[in-house]
Amino acid sequence: MKKRHVALLSAAMLTVSAVTGCGSGTANSGGQAQTDVPGSTAGETAAPESADSTFNAEGFPIVEEKITLTAYGSKDQNHAPWDEMTVFQKYEEMSNIHMDFQEVPADGFAENKQLVFASNELPDVFLRAGLTANEISTYGVGSGQLMVLDDLLEQYAPNISRYFNEYPSIRQTCVASDGHIYTIPTIDISATGRMDFKQWINTKWLDHLGLSVPTTIEEFKDVLTAFRDGDPNGNGEHDEIPLGIREPSSVYQLGGAFGLGYQMRDTYDIDDGIVHNWLCDDKFKDYLVYLNELYSEKLLWQDYYKNDRPAWRSNLAAELFGAMYMPYSDVFLNCEQDYAGYEPLIGPAGVKYWPDVKTGATVGAYALSSTCSNPEAAIRWVDYFYGDEGALFFMFGIEGENYTIVDGMPKLNDEILNAEEGFMTALGKIAMVPGLGFPSVLTDKTDSVLASSITKEAAKVLEPYLPEVIYAKPPVSPDDMDRVVAIEQDLVTYRDEAVTKFIVGEWGFDMWDDYCATLEQIGIRELEEIYQKAIDAQQ
């Protein structure tokens, strides 16, 4: 009972700190409320004031007299403290800009970010803060706490502008519902980055059992059964996990064999411009029946729905999975040579199809707050990382010290690749690469920092089967956004609950009609309409 009071108290304190934070924020922003009217081009008005004589529009240093900017973002568990990273230390010397890093561990970041906005005590820049389309709509278009970057990018960011001009789809991804750009994306134009998950199968186990790579979902199930019963790792124990799916939410992007698309990186098909959410479709039911079979026969990882990343990683590293899905092989480098990619399986849809596609740009890697003290310098600071030379520097560090160029391709030094503490942790001391989400460009040349040659191979076999037209989630106006948030909050919770119950057999498929009726009741069709409207507005 005591303990509960303590919990109650801490909850109360939390509310209090949030609320008092708001109070002081109000006082601070009183003066600027008029100048930062939502939607106004704050960049323009700020430009003449702070473009002091020490600012260089080109070349290094960016400013003659050292300035300090505060940078706020999410720190991956493999990152060293940001001010200790080789890249940032070196870059401070080059640019003459001191970044006062305020990084927050990824674990509590989601709520911390919301409190930063709610308290309106904003940093100068948001660096790797993972701002989502929803947040851009709320805090950019809505409350005007993010700065409009259109003019700044045009004037001071030649490298980013180059990508925007060369790849209109990347620019389009970044445009918010009011037509302005609020954040700079992570750009990934590498072949490997065109899809998220690659599918992997343990070829050593296949060889051991004398099996060939499956091509249909029936063959796939037979192979998984053989993995389960045949003790392919030869240790005499039934510790093999035939199929690994990382999370309950990963299910939706892997239904290609059943003809389920993953447009807007959600449960949507978009054919001839018609937006359709397939959560109630029979083909999705067929997919769930198949997964339910796999689960009940102990072919699918039995703990897949527990969101237990540490368990997932240790199973990966212990080579316990027969087949599984991963974007990169970085967490199972120790056994990656036993795995290989394979072509999409053929299922009821009758064609090979890999729906798990990405648009090449992920919004929210870098943004300026409306109170940024030196917007030009802040934009120039990040733009360098989008140039060829800068991207290499941002991801690999200093040539000669951290990497060398072999056959025209950058290669990290062996002491990083084979570091005792793990490759990713060693890399995290040099650069911000672990965990992605950083402001830079991944190309076929620079993506080797993440993608091993085996990963690139695995991506290559899937590439011919990606959908031709790729849609990103379109920007939605703040008013519609209120509805989207309200509907999706119930829809996503219910969907994940129901789908997991179908798969693990907690619900029988006689519940299917109830499930569909509930989705309708929550508002799945209204959601479809809102996205349809937004997609149409983009054309």
Binding site: M1, R4, A18, S29, Y139, A486, T500, V504, E506, Q521
Partner: protein
């Protein structure tokens, strides 16, 4: 009038020390409990951080309606209430029984040992408790399934069955906090006049009769006050443990108001909405507290106010 004022000043001057001591908790309550209440108005406003709490536009009862119309509203309310009531029905009498039992132990060393062993789990982190539950529930090697298999039951992963969520939560709570919560009752029992027991023994009372007619009536006031205080927080289910224990499969049985606020309000930044939900929670809490207090006042003549 002037006379009265002078009298008050004199009194304050006389007891200045006491007033200074009083000022600290009063200030604490004002700063941390009353002043923040002005922020509650954002439950009725569309909160915009740049405009601040006062400046944000009014939204009426939009957010309350949104919560009441939410698909999960009924589930969440039911889970919160049932989990609390269940926890209280089992969790409240348990320490009293334990205290009565410990009180009956005559061997001092054995008594101390029992007391220590039962209150130790109180100091374990909730994270540890939930990890233990997870391991015990494992289908292949878990303790619970080893026990049920003796009775020929099929192995199940208890953590992934909605029906087992509440029992697991409640009984692990009892196990963890029973010993610690018993301390206050043991202390109350220690204060009972030994002559009462001697007199009862002379009259030929059995042990059971002594417990029923001496021990329990002596600590009844303590029990009632603690009960009323517990009622006041009936809707406040411990957040951390529920959050750690829940997964997609058990969400229909495990989503409670506090986890709902955390996920939708704090993580997704819907401050107005979550304030509205929190306010709803507090109002129900207050009604329950007032009700329990009223009943207690009428029946047992003990009350908080």
């Amino acid at each position: 009038m002037g006379n009265r004022l002078r009298k008050t000043v004199r009194q304050i001057r006389r007891d200045a020390g006491l007033y200074i001591i009083l000022a600290v908790p009063v200030a604490w309550y004002l700063i941390f409990k009353y002043v923040p209440m002005y922020g509650l108005q954002i439950a009725f406003k569309k909160f915009n951080p740049t405009l601040g709490i006062i400046g944000s536009p009014w939204a009426g009862t939009t957010y309350f309606k949104q919560f009441f119309n939410s698909y999960y509203f009924a589930d969440i309310l039911w889970n919160t209430v049932s989990l609390s009531v269940f926890t209280m029905l089992i969790g409240f009498p348990a320490p009293i029984l334990l205290a009565l039992l410990i009180n009956e132990i005559k061997n001092t060393r054995f008594k101390k040992a029992v007391q220590n062993i039962t209150y130790m789990p109180n100091f374990l982190s909730v994270v540890v408790i939930v990890s233990m539950l997870s391991l015990f529930s494992n289908r292949d090697y878990g303790l619970f399934n080893r026990i049920t298999s003796v009775f020929g039951r099929e192995a199940v992963d208890f953590m992934s069955k909605p029906g087992y969520f509440q029992p697991l939560y409640v009984f692990s709570n009892v196990w963890q906090y029973m010993g610690f919560n018993a301390i206050i009752y043991i202390a109350a029992l220690a204060g009972v006049d030994a002559e009462l027991y001697e007199a009862a023994s002379i009259d030929g009372a059995s042990r059971m009769q002594k417990i029923l007619h001496i021990s329990i009536p002596s600590i009844m006031d303590t029990i009632l006050i603690l009960f009323i205080m517990r009622i006041g927080s009936i809707m406040t289910v411990g957040f951390e443990k529920v959050y750690l224990m829940q997964n997609n499969v058990t969400i229909s049985a495990s989503e409670v108001i506090s986890t709902f606020i955390y996920k939708n309000g704090i993580q997704k930044g819907q401050f107005s909405y979550s304030t509205a939900v929190g306010m709803f929670n507090s109002v129900i809490n207050f009604v329950l507290l007032a009700g329990a207090n009223f009943v207690s006042k009428k029946t047992a003549k003990t009350s908080l106010w």
